[in-house]
């Protein structure tokens, strides 16, 4: 049995009669020959998360990540389709699911007027347990905020709030952990630390569904779903998605980077070209074009100190290729 199973789920926040759609699973409904007004059409989005897996939902704001979280944590009813968590149906068995899962919403949702310790105690009590009973599970994380246990949650810095929220989501020893954008707005160092904590939780057998808008975090997941406008672009391991990148990809540098971007885009053999830190990533359609060939072209345009290297695509390259179709 998978930890999470989602079949043909869709959700439209607009009423059916409006003819408008904001939510998840619209396009795949239409593609499957059904339409918005059909009461039980097939289509929608589907995916499974295996037990003990870290599964990432990767996509920008507004892609539908939170909608999926809310359906799986039984806070929102889907329009169609079925989903189960730990074998329990999200509609019929909602009470059972609520006892078993931990949920850290995107927006900080602890009690600002309670202290660190009081918040943790509160969540333990709500789930009929005590801090002591599951202390081992949260110990590593809680020890980092323990010096501030008498401080009110509202007075904590961003990084500490995030750690406290994770502790509160874990204190009843959930079998599945839902983390909605836990690293958004968090600096790169704290983000790395946070992923380290998730790896440790995985070792303890907890299944984790986590979302992020940071593409560079994809490689930390066992499998990912790339999501945009309420639809999955791809579900697979990060390595497989990278292997499936369709074009040659080169990283290009010269002394005049802004001009280089325009010149590369104007080149007919360029499929697309984007700035990537101190280099531009160019995907090349034409298999005959060689690195020295492109170098020559750029020299003719007056570029100096040209450096071109073939590179392995990142998940961000793959995402951009997929949304450009």
């Amino acid at each position: 049995m998978n930890a999470i199973e989602v079949k043909n789920i869709s959700k439209n926040y607009f009423p059916k009669e409006s003819g408008k759609f904001v939510g998840i699973g619209e396009r795949s409904i239409l593609q499957n020959g059904s339409n918005l007004n059909s009461p039980l059409g097939v289509g929608g989005i589907s995916f499974d998360v295996k037990r003990g897996e870290i599964f990432g939902l990767i996509g920008p704001d507004g892609a539908g990540k939170t909608t999926i979280f809310r359906i799986l944590t039984t806070l929102l009813l889907p329009d169609q389709g079925t989903a189960s968590v730990d074998g329990f149906d999200v509609v019929a068995d909602y009470k059972e699911i609520r006892n078993r899962v931990g949920y850290m919403p995107g927006r900080f949702s602890l009690y600002q007027d309670l202290t660190v310790e009081e918040n943790l105690n509160f969540f333990a009590t709500v789930f009929n347990t005590t801090i002591e009973e599951n202390y081992e599970l949260v110990k590593d994380i809680y020890q980092q905020i323990e010096p501030f246990k008498k401080r009110r949650a509202g007075k904590l810095s961003g990084g500490m709030k995030q750690k406290l929220a994770l502790c509160c989501a874990l204190i009843h020893k959930p079998s599945v952990l839902f983390l909605d954008e836990p690293t958004t707005g968090v600096d790169p160092v704290s983000r790395k630390e946070f992923w380290g904590m998730l790896k440790k939780l995985k070792e303890q057998g907890i299944t984790i569904l986590v979302s992020t808008p940071y593409m560079d975090e994809a490689s930390q997941c066992d499998r990912i779903a790339l999501i945009q406008n309420g639809e999955f672009l791809k579900i697979d391991t990060p390595d497989t998605i990278i292997e499936q990148y369709r074009n040659k990809l080169w990283a290009v540098k010269s002394d005049s980077m802004y001009k280089l971007l325009t010149d590369l885009r104007a080149n007919e053999q360029t499929k697309n070209c984007f700035a990537f830190g101190d280099k531009h990533h160019v995907s090349i359609d034409n298999i005959q074009l060689t690195i020295s060939g492109l170098k020559e072209l750029l020299e003719k345009k007056g570029h100096l100190n040209i450096d071109i290297k073939e590179i392995e695509p990142t998940i961000e390259d793959c995402f951009m290729q997929l949304i450009q179709g």
């Binding site: 010096p147 830190g277 101190d278």
Partner: protein, 254 residues
């Protein structure tokens, strides 16, 4: 008088020993730096390093405990209203009013900055063309996709042609293509002489800045071009530079 200031100096921001204390806590600890006209200045630091406090002082919203600062030629302690008039500001959290239409937002902000009605009208037409937004003009901002909103918010923040625009994590949560289009708008603004002061958690974006400062525990620990910083720290990317510096932090509050 305004023009005089602009001619006399190429420095748009000057901070000298700027410090802000809250009780016993020193949020910003004696920072000094200068930003040139037309420069893209990246202001980096870990959560809690003091970036927001420093930015609030430069925008005339918080008075320094000690030290001095000039923004667009005005003193950030005694001329806060003049500072506010000469800058633009945009953040991921607050930018535009969702329940006003696109043109209404532009008119509102143009009006607040004292622009004439006619000027607002002409420039609105221009802007809608440049952004390819002519069909969105009468739509509520709340109904636009995030990427549209962020591009519009940036354009509104420089609508009154400020000397310098402060961008606080402008691209958070935006899809990778829109994020890159956003940076193209930034380049375009600097080509018109607008100075850009920007914070970000995307380290690839740090590479797009002319110079970058990195704050650790209230102090500026490094300040140079991305190229020189990478050389100085023997790093291949700005992410490595950042990781090396931010790990030095001893500030327990974060």
């Amino acid at each position: 008088m305004d023009d005089k200031i602009q001619q006399n100096t190429t420095k748009v921001i000057t901070a000298e020993n700027l410090t802000k204390k809250f009780g016993h806590f020193t949020a910003v600890d004696n920072i000094s730096f200068e930003v040139e006209r037309g420069e893209i200045f990246g202001f980096l630091g870990a959560n809690g390093a003091g970036k927001t406090t420093a930015m609030r002082m430069l925008c005339g919203l918080s008075i320094p405990t000690s030290g001095t600062g000039l923004v667009a030629g005005y003193d950030i302690e005694n001329q806060t209203e003049l500072v506010k008039k000469s800058i633009g500001y945009m953040s991921q959290k607050f930018s535009l009013y969702d329940d006003l239409k696109v043109w209404e937002n532009i008119e509102l902000f143009g009006g607040i900055y004292g622009m004439k009605d006619k000027e607002i009208k002409v420039k609105t037409d221009e802007l809608m063309k440049v952004l390819n937004f002519e069909n969105e003009r009468d739509k509520l901002v709340g109904s636009l996709p995030l990427g549209f909103k962020q591009k519009l918010a940036f354009s509104v923040s420089i609508f009154h042609t400020p000397r310098v625009v402060f961008l606080d994590e402008p691209t958070g949560g935006v899809d990778p293509i829109t994020r890159r289009q956003f940076w193209e708008l930034i380049y375009d603004a600097t080509s018109k002489g607008i100075t850009v002061f920007v914070t970000t958690h995307y380290m690839d974006e740090a590479e797009y800045c002319d110079r970058v400062s990195i704050m650790v525990d209230g102090r500026i620990e490094a300040l140079d071009s991305p190229k020189n910083l990478k050389k100085q720290f023997h790093a291949n990317s700005m992410d490595e530079v950042f990781q090396q510096l931010a790990r030095k932090s001893t500030r327990l509050a974060d």
